[in-house]
C-alpha cells in the first residue's frame, strides 16, 4: 500500500507558521495566517522536471491563484498539495508541504487523512456516475461509515447552499448527478468537496470547461467561500485570477517566477517575464 516510493526528505525542525511571511517579500504584503506552505517543493516525472524548488505560502481566508502558460507546472504543484501524485508511479515529490506547520509528506502521515483536510475540485466536473445528487454530496461521509440520516441531510443541504446549487436541485436530490448540466455538475463537485469540511480548498481550473455564466457563478462562489477557507486556484484565465484572487503566483517552465499580491502582480510586477506574460507578449 505504500504509494510513495521515493520521497527524499531533509530532516528539519517543523518551521514556525509566521516565518514565511518573508517569502511574499514586497512591502504592503501583510503576514496573514499561513495555512499551507511549501518549502523547496520539487516534483519530478522520471527525469522530466514538473516543478522545481518552489517555496510558497497559501494564506487562510485568502485566494491564491497559480497562473502561467500550459506546462508551466502550476497543476503539478497544486496536485502536490494534497498528495495526488501518490498514485502516479513516476512522480517523485521532494521538499516539504506544511499544513499548519506539519509536513504532509512525513513518513507516518496517512494521505487519506490529509485529503480530508485539503479538498480538491478538478478541471472537469466528476460526479460519481451511479450516485444520486444527494449521495454524491455526502459520499465523503457516507462511504466512511457515517449513517446518521439527519446529519447527512443537514450536511447535504449546507454544502449545496454553499455551492449555490441548493435552489436548483432541492426538489430532485434523488436524481442522478450525471443528469445535471456541466456548470451544475461542477458546483456539485464543489459541494461534495465542501461536505467533508476541509480546511483548504484546491481548485484546478474549475471553470475551464464551463460557459461564461456558469463560470461567473463559480467565481462568485469562490468569493463567498474564502471567508471560511484557504483557497488555491489554478487558472489559465488571467482576468479570472485578477478577479478572484488576493495573491498570485506566476509559474514558468517549472519555476516559481514571482509571488505577490494580485494587485501588485497585475499592475507592477517586479519580474520582466511576469510582465511579458501578464501583458500578453507570450503564453
Amino acid at each position: 500500500m505504500n504509494f510513495i516510493t521515493n520521497i527524499k526528505k531533509n530532516k528539519k525542525e517543523p518551521t514556525e507558521k509566521t516565518s514565511t511571511s518573508a517569502i511574499a517579500g514586497g512591502e504592503g504584503v501583510h503576514p496573514h495566517d499561513v495555512r499551507m506552505e511549501t518549502k523547496n517543493l520539487s516534483v519530478m516525472y522520471g527525469k522530466t522536471v514538473g516543478v522545481k524548488n518552489v517555496s510558497l505560502p497559501v494564506y487562510n481566508e485568502k485566494v491564491t491563484a497559480f497562473i502561467g502558460p500550459s506546462g508551466c507546472g502550476k497543476t503539478t504543484f497544486l496536485r502536490a498539495l494534497n498528495r495526488m501524485h501518490d498514485l502516479t508511479r513516476e512522480a517523485v515529490v521532494t521538499g516539504e508541504v506544511l499544513l499548519d506547520g506539519l509536513d504532509i509528506y512525513a513518513p507516518k502521515v496517512n494521505p487519506v487523512t490529509i485529503r480530508r483536510k485539503i479538498g480538491m475540485v478538478f478541471q472537469k466536473p466528476t460526479p460519481f456516475p451511479t450516485m444520486s445528487i444527494y449521495n454524491n454530496v455526502v459520499a465523503g461521509l457516507k462511504l466512511v461509515g457515517i449513517r446518521d440520516r439527519k446529519l447527512l441531510d443537514e450536511v447535504c443541504e449546507k454544502a449545496l447552499q454553499q455551492a449555490a446549487l441548493w435552489n436548483e436541485v432541492k426538489d430532485r436530490l434523488n436524481t442522478p448527478g450525471g443528469s445535471l448540466s456541466g456548470g451544475q455538475q461542477q458546483r456539485l463537485s464543489i459541494a461534495r468537496a465542501l461536505a467533508i469540511e476541509p480546511e483548504v480548498l484546491l481548485m484546478d481550473e474549475p471553470t475551464s470547461s464551463l460557459d461564461p455564466l456558469s463560470s461567473a457563478k463559480i467565481e462568485e462562489l469562490i468569493h463567498d467561500l474564502k471567508t471560511k477557507y484557504a483557497i488555491a486556484i489554478v487558472t489559465h484565465n488571467m482576468q479570472q485570477a485578477a478577479r478572484v484572487s488576493d495573491y498570485t503566483a506566476f509559474f514558468y517552465v517549472g519555476n516559481l517566477v514571482e509571488f505577490d499580491e494580485t494587485k501588485k502582480i497585475f499592475t507592477n510586477p517586479s519580474n520582466e517575464q511576469t510582465e511579458n506574460y501578464i501583458s500578453g507578449k507570450f503564453g
Binding site: 485529503r115 478538478f122 462511504l143 466512511v144
Partner: protein
C-alpha cells in the same frame, strides 16, 4: 480538375472493395454457426419430448426398448456444477481483475498478469487434472464439486480479464475525485469505480459462464458423469454427476442409434443455454452503450 475526379473515383472503388471484403468475412464468420445450429436441430429435434426433460437416462436398454428415458438429471447436474463454478470463480476472478486494473504498481501485478494469461491459454483438460488432484483425490470420489472447481479454473482468467477491461474503461478522474474527498483506495474502487463498471462486470461474468458451460474436457475426470439421478440433490455436489457437454460426448461415441439422437437433442439444449447467455451479455452491453 480531371485528376481530382479520377482520384475520387478511385477512392470510391477502394471503399466498395473494402466494404465487400468486410461483408464476406462477416458471412464466413456466421456460416459455421448457422450450419451447426441447423444440423443439430435437424438431427436432434425428434428426440425432444416430455420424457427427455423429465426422465433420467438409465441403461442403453431403456432407449432401445422404447422405455421412457431422458436427460433431466443431466440438465439439473449442469445447473448445479455450473453454478458452483460461478460461485467459486466470480469473487476470485473479480478480485484478480481489480488487482490488475487498480494496483498497476503492486509487485504481484506483473506476476498475476502472466499467470492469468497462462491459465487462460492452458488446455481445459489440464484444468480438469488440476481439479482431480486438488479435489477428487482427497475426497476419494468424483463429484460435482470437483467439476465446479475445474470449470472455475476455466472461468477465473476470463472474469479477471473482463473485469480489468471493464474497470479500465472508467475514467481515471472518478478515482481521483474519490480520493480527493478522503476515501481510502479500496473504498474508491468498491463504491465509485465498480458501480460505474457494473454492466461491464456482469457482461464479463456471463461470457465466462457461457464459455465454461460448454466445456466437456475438464469434467471427464472430475464430475465424471452419471446415468442416473442421485437419490437427493446433494448427491450432485458430493458424488459423480452428469453434465450436458460431457453427456453429449459420451452419447455421441456410444454404439446406440437412439443415444445418438439424444446426443443431438442434448446439443440443442446446450446451444440454447449458451446462446441465451451470450444474447443476455450482448443486450447488457448495448444498454450500456445507448
Amino acid at each position: 480538375m480531371i485528376q481530382g475526379t479520377k482520384s475520387i473515383n478511385r477512392r470510391r472503388i477502394n471503399d466498395r472493395i473494402m466494404f465487400g471484403l468486410l461483408v464476406l468475412s462477416t458471412v464466413v464468420v456466421m456460416t459455421p454457426l448457422l450450419i451447426i445450429i441447423g444440423y443439430v436441430v435437424i438431427n436432434g429435434f425428434n428426440a425432444l419430448s416430455i420424457d427427455f426433460f423429465t426422465q433420467e437416462l438409465g441403461s442403453p436398454a431403456r432407449a432401445m426398448q422404447g422405455r421412457p428415458t431422458g436427460l433431466m438429471h443431466t440438465m439439473l447436474g449442469t445447473i448445479v456444477v455450473d453454478f458452483m463454478a460461478l460461485i467459486i470463480a466470480v469473487p476470485i476472478g473479480i478480485g484478480a481483475g481489480i488487482m490488475l486494473s487498480e494496483y498497476p504498481d503492486h509487485k504481484l501485478n506483473p506476476v498475476l498478469r502472466i499467470m492469468n494469461d497462462t491459465l487462460n491459454g492452458m488446455p481445459a483438460i489440464l484444468k480438469g487434472m488440476l481439479a482431480f488432484v486438488l479435489v477428487v483425490k482427497p475426497m476419494g470420489t468424483f463429484s460435482g464439486l470437483a467439476g465446479g472447481v475445474a470449470l472455475a479454473f476455466v472461468m477465473i482468467p476470463i472474469v479477471a480479464r473482463t473485469t480489468e477491461s471493464a474497470l479500465m474503461a472508467i475514467p481515471w478522474a472518478i478515482r481521483e475525485a474519490g480520493l480527493a474527498i478522503g476515501l481510502p483506495r479500496w473504498r474508491v474502487v468498491l463504491s465509485t469505480v465498480m458501480p460505474a463498471a457494473k454492466t461491464g462486470l456482469v457482461t464479463g461474468v456471463l461470457i465466462a459462464f457461457a464459455r465454461a458451460a460448454g466445456e466437456a474436457a475438464p469434467l471427464v475426470f472430475t464430475s465424471f458423469g452419471n446415468n442416473y439421478m442421485p437419490r437427493n440433490w446433494t448427491g450432485m455436489i458430493w458424488g459423480p454427476v452428469d453434465t450436458l457437454p460431457q453427456r453429449l460426448y459420451s452419447l455421441a461415441i456410444s454404439p446406440y442409434k437412439e443415444w445418438h439422437t439424444m446426443g443431438w437433442a442434448a446439443g440443442i439444449v446446450l446451444l440454447t443455454f449458451v446462446i441465451i447467455l451470450f444474447v443476455a451479455a450482448r443486450l447488457l452491453t448495448r444498454k450500456k452503450n445507448s
